[in-house]
């Protein structure tokens, strides 16, 4: 395929959004259009995989408003992986959404599917961005298109949470990320992602740490403390939104941007030599530990998962900032592994809400006996979060730890071990209570499993979580291209 067909990846979900808007009156047709768009998009994205894996880097420039500042798309290993994950999980999430939205008789379903398609288009734009300007453009579109999804319910409390969501994401991006991009442009004359980085020699030593800070806190979607507050706030959204967007597309877009900036703007080798950039690993370590501790105290299932996500996102940042080849691969792989695990957990949470209307942890006692399929999937997802084999979470943790040993970075090693223990502390009791404890008192037990569409979706993602443990070679090969130039 020629590189000039790359924009089709963005146009397809947009076209889908238009189709959904016009078929809104007939729910069956509308959802068929939604599903068809998702499947077509995934096929299209995956058809690029072999080419990129073989080393091709298709690129196309759409417009150049200012010299050195262009709207350009390209595919490289990191973006390829992100696009694959987001587009594939969109199919499953659409199936799940159909079950969830109908099962809970949600209002404004057409708006929901339209905004979802727009958000996916924006996520594709982030994956394919060839420079910081394009990245920023789609980053903002992603924030704006997910706002109606977060505020979906429309009551005062939801709108207030959505305001926090939008305020933090827009505030950090305009207040910090944009200055960082402008600074980069003024210092280097370009914003194009270049393997090996563009900063070296253009920004003096101590300022590198500051610029890095503007980037990582400006990318609020990566939820590094203290700009993480929007993620728990976003949990007021319907669960399919939390599942695909706030476990995969939006948050992964955040760490994806951070990883991309570190690899392609700063350059791994250059950043490793900069003492002023080392602070980031302490912040990441702090985020991992404290988010895990906060998760320990949560009583609401979705909020607990949100804090777990915050910790897991910082794993990726931690892995990236170890700045060793194995850890970079680990960062990329963790984006995928966590995506499969966390979407399974959210799917399970949504299934419990739909079938049993339960949202609090104490209500879950004994639920495994009434919803065995859902809770089996939940267990697999939770094990992946802890990093127990044979789940996907083990693979990425392995690489990150290997990278940490390579760098002799004891802070990272300690953090990962401590947080593994913490993860076990908040997930294992739930699993135990759900399967083995007696039923909670005063709880309605007259319910069975969730609708079949939802079970299908969470079954697939649970299978993927396990499957990723065994079949991860194509992804490893792809991502090792990122670090080819570095000594292993």
């Amino acid at each position: 395929m020629g590189a000039h067909t790359l924009p089709v990846i963005l146009l397809l979900p947009l076209l889908g959004a238009v189709g959904i808007a016009f078929t809104g009156r007939w729910p069956n047709v509308r959802e068929a259009v939604s599903l068809l768009t998702a499947v077509t998009l995934a096929i299209l994205v995956f058809s690029w995989f072999p080419e990129v894996a073989a080393g091709a880097r298709p690129a196309v420039t759409l417009s150049e408003p200012l010299p050195g500042l262009s709207l350009a798309l390209s595919l490289e290993p990191l973006g390829m992986m992100f696009a694959c994950i987001a587009s594939f999980l969109w199919i499953i999430n659409t199936i799940y959404s159909i079950g969830y939205m109908r099962g809970n008789r949600e209002k404004h379903q057409t708006r929901f599917y339209i905004c979802f398609a727009l958000a996916i288009a924006a996520a594709m734009g982030i994956a394919l961005a060839d420079n910081l300007f394009t990245l920023f453009l789609f980053y903002e579109i992603l924030t704006l298109s997910t706002y109606p999804l977060v505020a979906h319910k429309g009551d005062a409390k939801t709108v207030a949470s959505a305001r926090v969501y939008l305020g933090i994401l827009i505030g950090t991006s305009i207040g910090l990320l944009l200055p960082a991009i402008i600074w980069t442009y003024v210092a280097t004359g370009t914003t194009t992602f270049t393997l090996g980085g563009i900063i070296q020699g253009n920004v003096p030593g101590p300022a590198v740490g500051l610029l890095l800070g503007l980037f990582v806190f400006g990318i609020g979607k990566a939820a590094l403390m203290p700009v993480h507050r929007w993620l728990p706030a976003a949990m007021v959204a319907p669960t399919p939104v939390s599942a695909l967007l706030h476990a995969v597309a939006v948050v992964k877009a955040g760490v994806f941007c951070v990883t991309k900036v570190i690899i392609y703007i700063f350059g791994v080798d250059f950043l490793f030599s900069q003492p002023s950039a080392q602070w980031l690993q302490y912040v990441a370590a702090f985020t991992i530990i404290s988010a895990s501790i906060v998760a320990l105290y949560q009583t609401n299932l979705k909020r607990m998962l949100a804090y777990s996500t915050i910790a897991q996102l910082s794993y990726v940042i931690m892995a990236t900032i170890i700045l060793k080849p194995l850890a970079e691969i680990g960062a990329a792989v963790h984006i995928a592994a966590h995506a499969f695990g966390k979407i399974t957990l959210f799917f399970a949470a949504g299934a419990i809400y739909t079938a049993a209307h339960k949202t609090e942890l104490w209500q879950l006692a004994g639920i495994g006996r009434r919803m065995p399929i859902t809770m089996a999937a939940f267990t697999i997802g939770a094990l992946s979060m802890i990093g127990v084999p044979p789940t996907g979470g083990f693979v990425s943790k392995w690489f990150i730890l290997a990278g940490a040993f390579q760098a002799e970075n004891y802070l990272a090693i300690f953090t990962i071990i401590a947080s593994t223990a913490l993860n076990a502390m908040y997930f294992l009791p739930i699993i135990y209570f759900a399967w083995l404890a007696p039923n909670a008192p005063d709880v309605d037990m007259e319910h069975g499993e969730a609708p079949p569409a939802m079970l299908l979706a969470l079954g697939v993602t649970a299978a993927l979580t396990i499957g990723f443990f065994f079949f991860n070679q194509p992804l490893l090969d792809l991502e090792s291209q990122l670090v080819q130039s570095l000594p292993l």
Binding site: P65, L69, L71, L137, R163, I170, G171, I174, I182, V186
Partner: protein, 496 residues
């Protein structure tokens, strides 16, 4: 000479001569149609002139064949062309979109007079842009101001009368200051022609009358351009004017005063007065900065949508003034681009207000709760134009903000604080816009009636054309960029 050579004169003559004919028409509809056609024809003329400027450079025209310095000279360069496009474009947009709204605001009997005044205001503004000498600028300034006072006061809202009185007093002071300054310069140099003035000032530099003249002219024009804190006439005038009139004047009238300010300070004074650009910067940058920060903050607390957008205009004028005060090539390009891009965004936003008021009869935010659900198309366009106002990439506002930030980064020592101020103001813009957007989409509608009530298709189409032009010029800014670059070249030409 063929007709094409008369374009600069036609630009003024066409609306000026159509105005009395419009007054003779009997019905409001015919008068409106005639005014719209005249306005569109002027837009066509402006486009032809722009093409000519981009192709062959500055266009000179001697009225009646009398050569300057004795005759009246008209000059159209890239800068004038940009301003002409703004004036005629804003007028056409406001007239085309404002038919229904104006029919409600203006008494049918007086409508022909109103549209006549509209054309005179447009002719005056165009005249300022094409005039090649300082005195004709004053004449056209008075023509346009007097006609604008009529337009603002023509509506049914009686509060417009006190607002326009304030505007009239301050506008007159501004024009008088300008005239005093021009008088001093004439006394010292014996010429009113901008080009001659720039040459002859050389002989009398550093004389006290010239320095005083520079002060009078700068302050007089800053009053008319509503540079903070000389803006006090603007919010009420914008708020209580008929909605369609607000679209017109908000998009272009202050920008024309800034145009004259730039022309005088750069083309005339900059090359001649030693240290003038430093003095100008010391005067204008603090004012611009306080405008950027304070006016944005005030906008957050407005309960009336039009007033909120008016204060936002004061802040945006601050951006233009800040960029203009930097006295650099990039700064001037940023200022001129922002004149264009802000007009696009504000024109679209006020056009959306026209639509809101048409259906809900109020511009008070409390009465507009839930409007986004009832008028989804208009509201989406409002959001799009709002993004351009904030400066989100992909919209026109981003291009000029980018230039502005790059320009202030070039200022040694002050780059970072200035960037912080610009970004703080952009974030405040997010706050005041989102305060409205949120209640528009999620607020409880005030009445029981929640049915959809979109405005008629033509107006909706026009709103969307305007909104999409914000995106178009954000991705393909070549035309305004070329004009801004040529304009900044002319302005700094006196220096080099």
């Amino acid at each position: 000479m063929n007709l094409a050579d008369h374009l600069p004169a036609l630009q003024v003559a066409l609306p000026l001569l159509t105005a009395p004919l419009v007054i003779l028409l009997r019905t409001g509809f015919l008068a409106w149609l005639a005014a719209l056609l005249a306005s569109l024809a002027s837009l066509g003329l402006a486009l032809l002139l722009t093409a000519a400027v981009l192709e062959t450079g500055t266009q000179h025209y001697a009225v009646g064949g009398w050569q300057p310095p004795f005759g009246i000279a008209l000059t159209v360069d890239g800068l004038s062309a940009l301003v002409l496009l703004l004036i005629t474009g804003a007028s056409s947009l406001a007239l085309a979109g404002g038919r229904q709204s104006l029919r409600l605001d203006i008494d049918n009997r007086r409508a022909p007079m109103f549209y006549g005044a509209w054309l005179i205001a447009m002719a005056g503004l165009c005249g300022i842009a094409v005039a090649g000498d300082a005195f004709n600028v004053f004449v056209f300034m008075e023509i346009s101001s007097l006609a604008t006072y009529i337009l603002i006061a023509a509506g049914r809202d009686r509060r417009a009368l006190s607002a326009v009185f304030k505007y009239l007093i301050i506008g007159t002071i501004g024009a008088t200051f300008y005239l005093i300054g021009v008088g001093f310069i004439y006394m010292m140099t014996g010429t009113l022609n901008f080009a001659d003035m720039a040459l002859r000032l050389n002989d009398v530099i550093e004389t006290r009358p010239i320095i005083i003249a520079a002060g009078f002219i700068t302050i007089g024009l800053a009053l008319k351009a509503a540079i903070f804190p000389l803006h006090i006439w603007l919010p009420r005038a914008y708020t209580y004017a008929p909605n369609a009139v607000t679209v017109f004047i908000a998009a272009c009238s202050t920008k024309v005063s800034i145009y004259v300010l730039l022309r005088f300070n750069y083309a005339v004074f900059h090359g001649n007065l030693l240290g003038h650009s430093d003095l100008f910067a010391v005067f204008i940058i603090p004012l611009a900065l306080s405008g950027i920060l304070l006016a944005s903050a005030i906008a957050i607390y407005q309960g009336n949508l039009k007033k909120m957008l008016a204060f936002s205009s004061v802040a945006q004028i601050g951006y233009i003034a800040l960029a203009a005060g930097l006295a650099s090539q990039t700064g001037l390009v940023a200022a001129l681009l922002h004149m264009f891009n802000h007009a696009l965004a504000k024109g679209t936003l006020f056009l959306c207000v026209v639509a809101f008021v048409l259906t809900s009869r109020s511009a008070t935010i409390a009465n507009l709760h839930g409007i986004g659900r009832r008028m989804p198309w208009t509201m989406a366009a409002f959001v799009l134009a709002g993004l351009s106002l904030v400066g989100v990439p992909g919209t026109a506002g981003f291009i000029s903000k980018w230039y502005l930030v790059v320009a202030v980064m070039e200022v040694p020592g002050w780059g970072v604080p200035l960037v912080v101020a610009i970004i703080a103001s952009s974030l405040m813009a997010v706050v005041y816009l989102w305060k409205f957007v949120e209640v528009a989409y999620y607020g409880e509608a005030p009445g029981d009636d929640t049915a959809a009530m979109e405005v008629a298709l033509p107006l909706r189409t026009l709103i969307w054309v305007a909104a999409l032009s914000n995106v178009y010029f954000g991705l393909f800014p070549q035309l305004p960029l070329a004009l801004a670059q040529s304009g900044s070249g002319t302005l700094l030409g006196g220096l080099n």
